[in-house]
């Protein structure tokens, strides 16, 4: 495990602008930003005083059919603009034609003159059955890299929100849904980096992200969580047309487990990640997160489950 990742406070709109300007204009339409930066921009991008604590800027290349040419073009442009490969943790060395796909490094690049954050190139799975990680080879001027995809990333591709910079951001609702589906239970795996000095389970960090998104959504517009089931159902039906009904029952299992009294230590880890991440400006209490989880279940998860049963 690496030392404390010491994620920095960054301005969502400034970073989004910098990323967009570095990407060839022809391919900006293929970029959807996901994760903290997207959420930060959506919820307080207009307020330059509010910042998010993140170190990675996840760029989803979409649609899948465009992902390889777009990934190669974006990586080459960034190399040409003197963006630097992130070398932390022994990662970052380019592969060659002999390197197996699953051993290729992901494109992770720091902007010129800064190591405060880096972008990471990802793509969406080829089909709804690809739920495990898949590595797609891209060949750049600096060698061979992987363009990874994960099972539920395709949800973030659903109805992304355009920005004035020419690139899009994923919807908070679909990012939350992807995280919920990715963690139907509290897992044992911990994050490879410390979060604000602590080792945190990946499921707790990702489910904590869901709670942070829900809290920010309520703060932006009261009762907005009641609109989530409709978006969730449409996204699931669009990206998982054959299996969406089977997926619905697992949307809430991980969160319900996290909120059980016997799992307070896990909820506390989720709280730690929120308090040092997306909700850093709000100083959330543990009770607030717990209530937010209960509100999310009531406003979004239960109606989605009902909707699936009735359809």
């Amino acid at each position: 495990m690496s030392q404390d990742a010491s994620a920095k406070l960054i301005s969502p709109s400034a970073v989004l602008k910098q990323v967009a300007e570095a990407i060839p204009e022809d391919f900006r339409q293929n970029i959807i930003i996901v994760g903290s930066l997207a959420a930060g921009y959506y919820f307080f991008g207009e307020n330059s005083k509010l910042q998010v604590r993140t170190k990675d800027v996840d760029c989803l290349l979409s649609p899948r059919i465009q992902a390889i040419p777009a990934g190669q073009a974006v990586a080459d442009r960034l190399f040409a603009e003197n963006w630097q490969l992130r070398a932390e943790g022994g990662w970052g060395k380019p592969g060659d034609a002999k390197t197996p796909d699953n051993q290729l490094s992901v494109v992770r690049l720091h902007p010129p003159g800064s190591t405060e954050w880096f972008i990471e190139l990802l793509t969406v799975p080829e089909s709804e059955n690809d739920l495990d990680r898949k590595d797609v080879r891209i060949v750049t001027s600096n060698g061979h890299f992987s363009l990874p995809s994960f099972g539920f990333l395709s949800l973030a591709e659903f109805q992304p929100i355009a920005t004035p910079f020419g690139i899009a951001i994923a919807r908070p609702e679909t990012m939350a849904l992807a995280n919920l589906l990715h963690h139907p239970a509290i897992g044992r795996e911990t994050m490879s980096s410390l979060i604000a000095g602590r080792s945190i389970k990946r499921s707790n960090k990702d489910l904590g992200r869901v709670l942070a998104l829900a809290r920010l959504a309520e703060a932006k517009e009261e009762d907005s969580l009641q609109k989530w089931p409709e978006v969730w159902a449409a996204a699931l039906q669009s990206r998982f047309p054959k299996s969406w009904r089977k997926l619905v029952p697992q949307v809430g299992t991980g969160l319900r487990q996290l909120l059980r009294p016997e799992n307070e230590a896990d909820l506390e880890e989720a709280h730690h990640t929120c308090a040092n991440g997306l909700l850093v400006s709000l100083s959330p209490t543990l009770k607030l997160l717990e209530v937010t989880g209960e509100r999310l279940i009531q406003d979004a998860i239960e109606p989605l489950e009902k909707l699936a049963q009735e359809s």
């Binding site: 009762d223 009770k287 209530v291 937010t292 509100r295």
Partner: protein, 355 residues
């Protein structure tokens, strides 16, 4: 701490028992008093007690009074003008509001505060937990009569009172006897109020929490849902046994009412004689929890309607309105006294003769 004697007789003052006595100091307690007349009467009683040779000091303890501090000072000065100075200087008032102590002419010192706390605890504990059925029925009938009078509906028969209240003929008759001087009786055995029964109303206000089974809910998350959000969610439940009162209800009946903002949602639940099932509150917001602390601002306040007929008025969007008398009680309970008066004066019955 000094020894406190509770409910203690005082020499030379027949048929009087002090709420508490410590050495030669007598304490009298008024809990949640709203009525200035009750306060004046208590001050006069204190002066009588202070005239006893065995009493050195008399303290009136006010727990969560609904009377403002400036009004209390006014009443104190008024008493000073009529009580002999050598008696008056042995009197004082100690006031606990929102858990904080103050006093007239001086606040309690650190030694006296624990004594006062214990006296209040004892007084609250010995108060009846709830009103008996007969008393509840009396206030049910009172509210029905006021409802009838406020809306200008004219006389009401005893049988209608029995039907609406769900009580027997003797119960209705006893209640009507109790406030006979406010009633106009007709030859067909119907009755109506001559005027607003202010004394009875004041008594009702003093026991309103018990009469209405009021339960308060406060937010535990630190990010409370607004009353409007709670109302939207209540509408989604499509319950016809729950009605909206409080500020929203008052504004429904009297839109021009001078009420800006809505600090909480007041609702009435028609539970009849059964204990009200409040499990629906979780559907309004899982962040709500019951509170009994009076220094905490509730987000949701629920009052039970126990009579046979709810007197709810149908709403246009899936949820009824509580009757105007409940709304009026809600305004008093929120201590919106001037708005309560304005609301009361806006009804046909009071036109031309403001109360």
């Amino acid at each position: 701490m000094k020894t406190i004697q509770f409910e203690c007789p005082i020499d030379n003052i027949p048929s009087f028992r002090a709420d508490a006595v410590v050495d030669d100091t007598v304490y009298e307690v008024l809990v949640e008093t709203r009525d200035a007349r009750r306060l004046r009467s208590a001050l006069m009683e204190m002066s009588r007690i202070a005239s006893s040779k065995k009493v050195n000091r008399v303290v009136l303890v006010l727990e969560e009074p609904s009377i403002t501090i400036s009004r209390l000072h006014g009443e104190w000065e008024g008493a000073a003008s009529v009580i002999q100075p050598d008696i008056f200087r042995r009197l004082s008032m100690m006031i606990r509001q929102a858990g904080k102590w103050s006093g007239i002419p001086a606040s309690p010192d650190d030694n006296e505060m624990p004594v006062l706390e214990e006296i209040i605890q004892h007084e609250i504990a010995r108060r009846p937990a709830s009103l008996n059925r007969s008393s509840e029925a009396h206030y049910d009938i009172l509210r029905i009569l006021i409802h009838q009078w406020l809306l200008g509906k004219g006389p009401i028969t005893v049988s209608s009172l029995m039907e609406i209240s769900g009580t027997s003929h003797p119960t209705v008759s006893r209640a009507l006897e109790r406030f006979d001087h406010y009633l106009k009786r007709h030859s067909d055995r119907s009755v109506e109020l001559r005027s607003f029964p202010r004394d009875e109303w004041t008594r009702l206000l003093a026991v309103s929490d018990d009469v209405r089974g009021t339960v308060r809910f406060a937010d535990r998350s630190g990010q409370a849902r607004s009353p409007e959000s709670l109302l939207r969610r209540l509408r989604q439940l499509q319950r016809q046994d729950i009605a909206v009162g409080g500020v929203l209800g008052a504004k429904h009946y009297q839109p021009p009412l001078d009420l800006v903002g809505n600090p909480r949602l007041d609702i009435s639940i028609h539970s009849g004689r059964k204990t009200a099932d409040l499990s629906f509150v979780e559907r309004l917001d899982p962040g709500l929890e019951k509170t009994v602390r009076r220094d905490e601002s509730p987000t949701l306040v629920i009052h039970a309607i126990r009579r046979a007929e709810s007197l709810f008025q149908p709403g246009e969007d899936g949820i009824p309105w509580a009757d105007p008398v409940e709304c009026l009680l809600d305004l008093h309970e929120m201590r919106l006294e001037s708005q309560a008066l304005e609301f009361l004066n806006s009804f046909p019955a009071t036109k031309g003769r403001p109360l």
